[in-house]
């Protein structure tokens, strides 16, 4: 395991959002973080990728503490695609993708042949080469997301983090993005870590799922381990019926009810006991 998170605590001001969380990210796998709104999953993602600082604990990449690493060097190891980044108006697709080469450049940033090759490859891999000369904000949501992924690819890192890469996309485009990520994982062996909202998508595409609630780790494991009635009860406060996706044979949540408040309360204290 290249990336290890030890007893990390993250928060803003006096408010702690992620409490004492430890996890290892499996290499060459797709890892997905799931959890309710405000449970700290995006915050965790940002802390691991040093977008925001953490107050306690360490994030270790290849035995080195990332907070002590040179930020450009780190940018050659892991890429991060934030949640629905706004696009600078008028920027061309290939210009945006070329910024992925930033960690490799010095000074004014003239592109080397290697840079150009990587950009071309990233555009090809994400099937965005055909509109490379178009402004980013003239593209559809799905195309735009693929362009941002191309930028992350151009960064030439083994590890890619994505914060809710499917938000604001319709069903078909969501699948398109996830299949692209799966391909990158299978063909190139990239480690993918992402935050997803949709449980069934998480189950279908991930090798490893990290389930969080209220800043605590509830359960981590493969889809069959995490997609259980008990875990979903602790994570989302729902009573879920788990079945099997007839096509992919992965577990899926078929239907669910909200838990009544008294059940929820009892569960909460259990969660608390567990983490304490």
């Amino acid at each position: 395991m290249r990336l290890k998170i030890n007893n990390i605590q993250v928060g803003y001001d006096d408010q702690t959002i992620v409490h004492d969380l430890s996890i290892e990210i499996p290499d060459g796998k797709i890892t997905t973080i799931i959890g309710a709104n405000g449970c700290g999953k995006s915050t965790l993602l940002k802390a691991i990728t040093r977008i925001i600082p953490h107050q306690a604990g360490t994030v270790i990449l290849d035995g080195e503490n990332i907070q002590k690493m040179n930020t450009k060097v780190l940018a050659r190891e892991l890429a991060i695609l934030p949640q629905s980044p706004e696009s600078a108006s008028g920027l061309l697709v290939e210009e945006l993708v070329s910024y992925g080469r930033y960690p490799y450049q010095k000074g004014f940033g003239n592109l080397s042949q290697k840079d150009r090759d990587m950009i071309d490859w990233a555009l090809e891999a994400t099937s965005t080469a055909e509109f490379r000369k178009r402004p980013v904000d003239a593209l559809s949501g799905g195309q735009r997301q693929r362009v941002w992924i191309a930028m992350a690819l151009a960064q030439e890192t083994d590890i890619i983090f994505l914060d809710e890469p499917t938000t604001y996309l319709d069903m078909a485009h969501q699948l398109e993005v996830l299949e692209l990520l799966q391909q990158l994982n299978v063909k190139e062996g990239r480690t993918i870590v992402m935050v997803l909202h949709d449980l069934n998508q998480a189950a279908r595409f991930s090798d490893y799922i990290i389930a969080m609630n209220a800043g605590h780790l509830i359960k981590a494991g493969d889809a069959t381990e995490v997609m259980t009635n008990e875990t979903l009860r602790d994570v989302f406060n729902i009573d879920a019926v788990i079945g099997e996706d007839p096509r992919t044979k992965k577990p899926m949540c078929i239907t669910y009810n909200l838990l009544k408040s008294e059940e929820r309360a009892s569960k909460k204290s259990e969660v608390h006991d567990m983490v304490v």
């Binding site: 990728t49 450009k72 695609l81």
Partner: protein
């Protein structure tokens, strides 16, 4: 516009620079005293004692060069502010810098009654820095960055505050006219002595070109910039210093001028796209060009009286601002 974008950047810059030189040349030849283009050409290469050459060398040359410097400085300051705040409506004049300079200037006149040129310049710097620091710290206080509306409102409030300080000081010590002479936004009576600020402008402009690639990355999204390995705090601090130097220097030469820093970068984006490596150098040229033309209009429209350039810029700038607001931040829709 579309065809222009297909030309390589270097050629675009050379082309616009040549246009700038021609316009400067023509602008130097116009004025209250009649001079021809041939006189201008002669005066560039020869220093002699005849009246025409002297007039050109001592009055017209510094004036037109100062116009270029001020236009370039304000345009680049505006471009950087728009990039860092990711706010299409950012402009040094709208965001409290120039009124900060006014306030500091008024106080400077009180503390040092015979404030000389470099003293006034220093006051302008300090004031611009304070004005900008206030607006900037408010604008960057929220985690997601400030909406254009709020940043503009903060700028308006800070401007009113600092203007109140300037006006109050002016009235109390009966120096309103002195302060308003300085800040009325004109290039009348500019001489070579105003060029003590030039090294600052030049250094700041060169730094802005060097840092322009960082600005593009930062203008995308702050998290993306960090993810790509940028030391955003260092970069933002450098940008801040450059903007304060440019705006402070410009105000010390020309006084209050809103809208130039707003307009020019938007026009330039229409020419060269969204990459600040192209926007910054192009803004310098187009900003300089714009100021020379505006000053020329001011000098000749109602000759022999000067029409203050601030009036011309306001008249041009307001509709521009309105279009930007209407189109949600993009001038070329």
């Amino acid at each position: 516009m579309k065809y222009f974008r297909k030309i390589p950047l270097a050629l675009q810059l050379v082309f616009m620079f040549v246009v700038l030189l021609i316009v400067m040349f023509v602008a130097i030849s116009f004025g209250a005293a009649n001079t021809t283009l041939a006189d201008v050409w002669y005066a560039i290469w020869h220093s002699s004692d005849d009246e025409k050459t002297n007039l050109l060398r001592e009055i017209r040359f510094p004036r037109v060069l100062a116009a270029v410097a001020v236009g370039a400085a304000l345009a680049v300051a505006g471009a950087i502010m728009q990039g860092v705040t990711r706010n299409p409506l950012a402009d040094p004049g709208l965001l409290g810098l120039t009124s900060g300079a006014n306030a500091a200037l008024a106080i400077g006149f009180v503390l040092v009654p015979n404030l000389d040129y470099s003293g006034a310049m220093l006051a302008c710097f300090i004031g611009a820095a304070i004005g900008m620091a206030i607006v900037y710290s408010i604008g960057s206080s929220s985690k997601t960055g400030m909406s254009p509306l709020k940043l503009v409102l903060a700028g308006a409030a800070v401007s009113m505050f600092l203007q109140a300080v300037a006006d109050g000081t002016g009235l109390l010590f009966q120096i309103s006219k002195d302060v308003s002479m300085w800040t009325s936004g004109g290039l009348q009576g500019i001489s070579w002595s105003a060029f003590v600020v030039m090294p600052i402008i030049i250094v700041a402009l060169i730094s802005s070109i060097i840092i322009s690639r960082q600005l593009t990355i930062l203008s995308l999204n702050e998290d993306v910039a960090v993810g790509l390995g940028q030391k955003t705090f260092v970069i933002k601090t450098m940008m801040f210093i450059i903007v304060v130097l440019l705006a402070g220097a410009a105000v010390s030469i020309v006084g209050n001028l809103a809208f130039i820093g707003l307009m020019i970068p938007h026009i330039v984006r229409g020419l060269v796209g969204a990459d600040y490596r192209a926007i910054i150098p192009m803004s310098m040229i187009v900003g300089g060009l714009f100021m020379v033309v505006v000053d020329l209009i001011g000098r000749t429209m109602n000759a022999p009286f000067e029409t203050p350039i601030v009036a011309i810029v306001s008249v041009l700038g307001l509709p521009f601002f309105l279009v930007l607001v209407k189109r949600g931040g993009r001038f070329f829709a």
